[in-house]
Symmetry: C2
């Protein structure tokens, strides 16, 4: 579909390692997503310094950005060990897509990349600890990438408009 | 049964807040439990400084010790928020009982105390993130205290002699 007039959704999505120079592009949409309080178990008033430290990970973690052909940052993901010791073969990851660039496969591209990274790093499984059940788009995406809802913690998340909703734990072997 | 000859198991178990002065009593059995690698998702070679920092929590977390009438430390527990933001009403906790003092209700006393603490602090639920399925004593204890196995992550834990075993996520509303 490349070249079709208006085919913004067909633009390439490139994934590359994030650097500190990407932070100014990440922070506005990350802040907005966190402040909305609907999908992430972060404090809604998360300050920038804490957010930067939480999001831009050093090894063994890793943070990437999804960019388009012009280098515009469309989304970001971080990936890291989920546990230590005898469970250190389980990875985790978190994802933020700029709402202005939703619906063009950025989340899927990031998810696929993260799974490839985890396999390459020798992890045996990936676990998402806290997927809000009302975040149905994310739930459907992770299911399509092979994750299962292992359980839903009742009243696990206080949604700003829905009240207490369930919190999914999603998992897949790699 | 107090005063019965040899009735060590009938001694009182007192729970109190841990201080830095308790660490030298905690570290030997905590180290041994972690080094065994059978029940905790900590690095088996955990060094003392890291262990101390991980175990002795400042508010909003808390760490307690279980002591007998003589002040001997029998076990310890730490308790803390399990999530942030919209899931910050879920607490977690971790427990270590000195194997020399097993079978006298120390774990149960600590578990009961932790649940009371979580209720008093206003938490709505408690979640244990990683209970090794072969740790059947702990699983039975938490079930008896009202926890359910919400799911078992397949191959979630690499046991030193059993190989890959499941990792339970246990949960109860308060």
């Amino acid at each position: 579909m490349a070249g079709r007039p208006g085919a913004r959704h067909a633009e390439a999505v490139l994934i590359r390692t994030a650097t500190g120079a990407d932070w100014p592009a990440i922070w506005p949409f990350l802040r907005a997503i966190v402040a909305a309080g609907e999908t992430y178990t972060y404090p809604r008033d998360l300050d920038e310094a804490t957010a930067r430290e939480m999001w831009l990970l050093a090894p063994p973690g890793r943070t990437v950005v999804a960019v388009d052909d012009d280098g515009t940052v469309l989304g970001t993901a971080k990936m890291n060990p989920n546990h230590m010791g005898g469970a250190s073969h389980i990875a985790s990851a978190s994802f933020m897509v700029d709402p202005r660039y939703g619906g063009r496969g950025v989340g899927r591209a990031l998810g696929t990349h993260v799974l490839d990274w985890a396999r390459a790093e020798g992890y045996r499984a990936m676990q998402f600890n806290a997927v809000v059940e009302t975040n149905t788009g994310a739930v459907a995406l992770w299911k399509s990438l092979g994750f299962q809802i292992m359980t839903t913690l009742p009243e696990g998340f206080r949604h700003p408009t829905e009240g207490y909703v369930g919190l999914h734990i999603m998992y897949r072997l790699l």
